[in-house]
């Protein structure tokens, strides 16, 4: 059984705190859950809301139909009431006549007696009560969440009051014991943890929604993890500092959103030409220009694939969910080092700001692979050449000061093996070819084929990349439930495009359906560019909102299958 809570109110009403405490409490109580946030680009006022979906089944994304609507203001009711389930309820500080089940909790009044700032905890208590969930889980979260003793005790008090004033309307799902240890976190946190696990010592960025969470998380761990986090004067500085640090020999990372990636473009080419490992997280929002700063999109795909003037090897990989974000980030750092190239790690606001429960990370299986030259690899009289020609194009990498009596020269002009500027036609050609060979090797050894989900024989094949994974899996299951033979191919690596799996599945009998959070079906275009395969159907969404599984299901049945 799955239940869906929506909590809405103005920016500044503490929605984030409510969602965080409630989500964590439900998590501690043993549920699966998915919490997603819909924010406006403002600090106060307007209308924000969060969706918390929880239950005993696997939960992969948000849902539209609301079981419990928690209204921090009246507007929330007006905006969301039509999505209320038949037997849904509204929690508000006065009775709502239009709906059948109206839970009245005058939260502000209640809080004002104890601590007006802690009003959100009243809601948490009443919400748990609505599902008949015992408060224990929430108590420990409150104790963790706040620092000051007095604040904790106020909140515990209000949690109880909220519970007492509330009313049990729903039968809660039975929390089953989840498989193994789990953690509950959002996409930005997962990415940040992947970066830290990957051993970064430096992170430089310029604040930009929705990527800032990565920087904030790492910044909070600077001393613990020996990482310097530097907020740069602009994105040009951020990326060029990171490249310098990487040339200097430490692992580094940067993160931004589309507009920042645009400013970083020239330097991505610099990393490509100088063969400096570089990982940049691009947390997408709808563009172009400022666009919709706090919303979600997959509109930067072809922009990222075709980064920077000229031609150079580049890896673009997209995280499919919170768990994957951690491992992808870790892997990106390894591959950047191995192939000495820039990697753009694609995420988006939906993934970045949504929290879910995932299996605890398996750190013991991870290995940091720097792929640096060892001093003993150098012959006694050999001169170190940063861009030595090798069969697979990968030159031995050293950092300055690493090798005795050897200097390391990296150059943004076309160069020879040592790193000095060259202009001769044949030298240029050889260097272009050398760099290109690295990508051939990467394709052979490390490129991740898409994962396939679904039955063996299919009539329809859904294709998608990155964070649409959750909703797409849900849609695909729903289709199968309705006896529609549909499979789903989930891409993480998108450039170079892995083609084997797709080509195998995309035979003439199968109808392909591209599902993307953009208006131009960029991934379908990329597929045709690289394979000639035409994806005939397109389910596109470009209003800044994430897909919901049921929505994809519905649109496919309406627009494709009919």
């Amino acid at each position: 059984m799955i239940k869906n809570i929506v909590i809405g109110g103005e920016a500044g009403q503490g929605l984030k705190t409510t969602a965080a405490i409630l989500g964590k409490a439900l998590f501690k109580n043993g549920f699966n859950l998915h919490t997603s946030m819909d924010f406006m680009s403002r600090i106060r006022g307007g209308h924000n809301f969060g969706r918390i979906r929880f239950g005993d089944e696997e939960i992969r994304g948000p849902q539209e139909e609301i079981d419990l609507l928690v209204a921090l203001n009246e507007e929330t009711i007006t905006r969301h009431v039509e999505k209320l389930a038949k037997d849904g309820a509204v929690l508000y500080d006065e009775a709502v006549s239009a709906v059948e089940n109206s839970i009245v909790v005058p939260a502000e009044e209640i809080a004002s007696e104890v601590n007006p700032k802690a009003v959100n905890t009243v809601y948490v208590g009443s919400i748990l009560k609505a599902f008949g969930i015992n408060l224990d889980c929430a108590r420990s979260v409150v104790e963790d969440y706040f620092d000051a003793e007095s604040v904790i005790s106020d909140n515990l008090k209000l949690l109880n009051r909220g519970y007492e004033k509330g009313e049990t309307i729903f039968k809660a799902p039975e929390p089953k014991s989840r498989t193994g240890e789990q953690i509950y976190l959002n996409g930005n946190e997962a990415t940040a943890l992947g970066a830290l696990a990957g051993g970064i010592n430096y992170y430089s960025a310029y604040p930009m929604s929705p990527s800032t969470g990565i920087m904030s998380y790492i910044a909070g761990k600077q001393d613990e993890m020996n990482v310097v986090v530097e907020q740069a004067e602009d994105e040009l500085a951020a990326i060029n500092m990171a490249i310098g640090a990487s040339y200097g020999g430490i692992r580094t990372m940067s993160g931004t959103s589309g507009g920042g990636l645009a400013l970083m473009n020239e330097a991505i080419g610099l990393a490509g030409l100088t063969e400096t490992p570089l990982v940049v997280a691009n947390v997408q929002r709808p563009g172009p220009a400022t666009g919709l700063p706090t919303r979600t999109s997959q509109g930067d795909l072809l922009f990222a694939v075709n980064s920077a003037q000229g031609e150079f090897p580049l890896l673009i990989t997209a995280s499919r969910n919170q768990e994957n974000a951690f491992y992808q980030t870790f892997r990106a750092l390894n591959l950047a080092d191995k192939y000495q190239l820039p990697v753009i790690l694609m995420s988006d606001q939906f993934l970045a700001d949504s929290s879910t429960n995932v299996p605890d990370f398996e750190l013991q299986n991870l290995e940091i692979e720097r792929n640096l030259i060892a001093a003993e690899d150098m012959g006694p009289d050999e001169e170190y050449r940063r861009y030595e020609f090798t069969e697979d194009g990968i030159s031995p990498r050293a950092f300055p000061g690493q090798l005795k009596k050897q200097t390391v020269l990296a150059d943004s002009d076309e160069h020879d093996e040592k790193g000095h500027i060259v202009e001769a036609a044949d030298k240029r050609r050889r260097m272009v070819d050398k760099r290109a060979r690295k990508l051939d090797r990467l394709i052979e050894d490390d490129l991740a084929e898409p994962e396939y989900f679904g039955p063996e024989n299919i009539d329809y094949l859904l294709v998608g990349w990155g964070s649409t994974y959750g909703p797409l899996r849900e849609a695909q299951s729903r289709l199968n439930e309705e006896d529609i033979k549909a499979g789903y191919l989930s891409f993480t690596d998108v450039w170079p495009l892995p083609t084997t799996g797709l080509e195998k599945l995309a035979d003439n009998e199968v109808e392909l359906i591209d599902v993307e959070n953009n208006s131009q079906a960029q991934f379908a275009r990329l597929i045709r560019q690289e394979t000639g395969i035409e994806v005939e159907h397109r389910i596109l969404k470009y209003d800044g909102r994430p897909f919901r599984g049921e929505e994809i299901f519905r649109r496919i049945t309406e627009e494709v299958i009919q």
Binding site: Q182, I183, Y184, L196, A197, N201, Y202, S204, K221, Q222, D223, E224, M225, N226, V228, E230, A232, E233, D234, L236, A237, A238, N240, M241, A242, I243, G244, A245, S246, Y247, G248, G249, I250, R251, T252, E266, A267, L270, T274, D360, F361, L363, Q364, L366, I368, F399, P400, G401, Q402, L403, K405, T407, V408, L409, A410, D411, S412, D413, H420, I421
Partner: protein, 282 residues
Amino acid sequence: MSSKFELSGDTAWCPGCGNFPLRVALKQALEELELKPEEVVMSTGIGQAAKMPHYIEVNGFNGLHGRSLPPAVGVRIANKDLQVIVESGDGCTYGEGGNHLLHNIRRNVDLVHLVHNNQIYGLTKGQASPTTGKENRTGVQTHGINAEPFKPVKFAVGMEASFVARGFVGEKEHLAELIKQAACHRGYALVDILQPCVSFNKVNTYDWYRERVYKLPDDYQAEDYDTALQKAQEWDERIPIGVIYREEKETFYDNFSFLDKQPLVEQERSPEEVEPLLAKFK
């Protein structure tokens, strides 16, 4: 004198260019600082000046036009044991790279920053740079210059940079001494270097500079801010060379307790170190 910083081979500089004596002074300074080539990293942008790491034996990161400073900051954070030198032209540093200059003065990372100030864009064949004088005409500035010339030394002192000096390639020994002092200074050290471009700047020639340049007297108080602020305004008629301003202050490194222990680049890392962080998410 053959130097361990000597790199044989042709340069792309014009005969008679001020970059040659600058290179001599630089090599001399590095020798006298008793550095080894592998202990020095030079980070440059793009321009004629920026080709320096190709003509001297040190580690080099020859990056993008305008971006000589940011990679240097990164290198210095990675490895505190390296002597990091930023080197680039006036166009690269004061034009395209202006924002990095502005903010790295504030950051005060321990760097030596040498600007080859030839008051012109050399490599792109003679357009005005921010420091080009009003009396100049170029192929793009056909009317003359549409803006007031930028005054690097005045700017840097105004920004309270921790070390501000001006050198002249016609005074090689003096310049080598300035570079050494900049290297010994703890914090960001800007050395603006007057460097005639014989191909494109027909106004600010060796003679032009020689007529104006004078060395600061021995009793000049570079530590006194008001003195420095006044001195930094001199230009046009008389141009002081030497250390204009110097102040020991907090550097970027002072903000990070773990930076001074061991170069970051030598610290081993393991994925399992994040284990304690995961507890918060359980």
